[in-house]
């Protein structure tokens, strides 16, 4: 009975495969091209590159608006994981060359601020305003979380300020490491190796 059943199946499946086997190759490749073209037009392009730095491997990424991500002391896969998985990711050292050149100058002590377009449009208005205040802190200086909150006109928001700084997608270039706790301790730091990296950066800038 089973043999008869499978014989019947084999008979039908053989005809099915022969009749509906494969689509036309021309139509298939035309469709592949079309879907890829649509995706290239639809999905935002993010180009990234890496360099070695005193704080470990450093990764930077740019989109059409400017520098959108930077991280160091982590694995490449950890860095790439942060991007929306619908974006197109392209490793392109040329696209981030300007960023990496300025960072090399910074690590060598030849540069204290950066001249780069950045994109922090993915953040909330509050997070953006906190990072904009952080950009006003001169190299070699430190402000407290409380002072940043005061600058924003929200003196009781030291903790949310700390939260916004911890989500800084572009550390070093947006100098969130220049914000410390009121008790004189370093506070927190989410870049690279954490407080060790923060201390290193503040020493490089002569703030410690």
């Amino acid at each position: 009975m089973t043999t008869q059943k499978s014989k019947n199946e084999v008979f039908v499946v053989k005809h099915l495969r022969s009749a509906l086997g494969s689509p036309m190759e021309t139509a298939l490749s035309r469709s592949r091209e079309r879907v890829n073209k649509w995706f290239a037009e639809e999905a935002p392009l993010i180009q990234w590159g890496e360099m070695s730095s005193p704080l470990g491997p450093l990764f930077a990424a740019v989109n059409e608006r400017g520098l959108c991500a930077l991280d160091f002391g982590r694995q490449e896969s950890e860095f790439l994981q942060r991007f929306d998985n619908r974006t197109r990711l392209e490793k392109d050292p040329k696209a981030v060359q300007r960023v990496l050149v300025q960072l090399r100058e910074y690590f060598a002590g030849d540069r204290s601020s950066f001249n780069l377009p950045v994109d922090i449009s993915q953040l909330t208005p509050f997070q953006r305003s906190v990072l904009e205040v952080a950009c006003r802190i001169a190299p070699g200086q430190v402000w407290t979380y409380h002072r940043v909150a005061e600058e924003l006109g929200r003196p009781r928001s030291s903790r949310p300020v700390g939260g916004a700084l911890a989500r800084n997608p572009i550390p070093i270039v947006i100098p969130c490491h220049r914000v410390v706790a009121s008790d004189g301790s370093l506070g927190g730091y989410s870049g690279g190796s954490g407080l060790k990296a923060k201390r290193w950066l503040l020493r490089l800038e002569g703030a410690l």
Partner: protein
């Protein structure tokens, strides 16, 4: 690392296109190839819109097939509606097409498959042409494995009886 959308296209475009082709591209309509291309694009467009909400450990392949099946069902309904309208006009072309296709076994099989109810057509295509297993088919069609098996059985039985009648 979570699957990226460009990898999804790279890995699954061809099989999704082939699946839609098998469901919709073989019924002799002049615009069938264009329909399948449009539909494939539509599947990836819909997938793109809901990709962010998808859990990283989801079965992306089954999810994509589910979208494709949904798009195909809509299109099959449209085609059937058009056909019903045409046949109600009592044109003799349908009869003529059948008598011509009898000369060609492959064409006859295609015609028979196109006559199957949409779910049977999808089940038998997923099982024997896309080589998916029953748990996956059940997931794609939001039904039990038993239901998927029963649909495949009915489709095979119908095709066998019709084809045996031809011998």
């Amino acid at each position: 690392m979570a699957l990226r959308f460009e990898e999804l296209i790279e890995r699954h475009h061809d099989e999704i296109f082939a699946y839609l082709w098998r469901l919709l591209g073989n019924d002799g309509r002049r615009d069938a190839a264009t329909d399948v291309e449009d539909l494939t694009q539509d599947v990836f467009l819909r997938a793109f819109d809901s990709f962010v909400g998808l859990r990283p450990n989801s079965n992306h392949r089954a999810w994509l097939y589910k979208i494709a099946t949904h798009c195909a069902y809509t299109q099959l309904r449209r085609i059937k509606h058009r056909r019903d309208k045409l046949s109600s006009l009592k044109h003799s072309t349908a009869e003529l097409e059948i008598s011509i296709s009898r000369k060609d076994m492959e064409q006859r099989v295609r015609a028979l498959v196109n006559e199957l109810p949409a779910k049977q057509k999808a089940c038998v295509t997923l099982r024997y042409l896309q080589d998916l297993d029953y748990p996956e088919i059940a997931q794609i069609l939001s039904c039990s494995q038993e239901s998927a098996r029963a649909n495949v059985y009915q489709a095979i039985r119908h095709l066998r009886l019709a084809l045996e009648g031809e011998r």
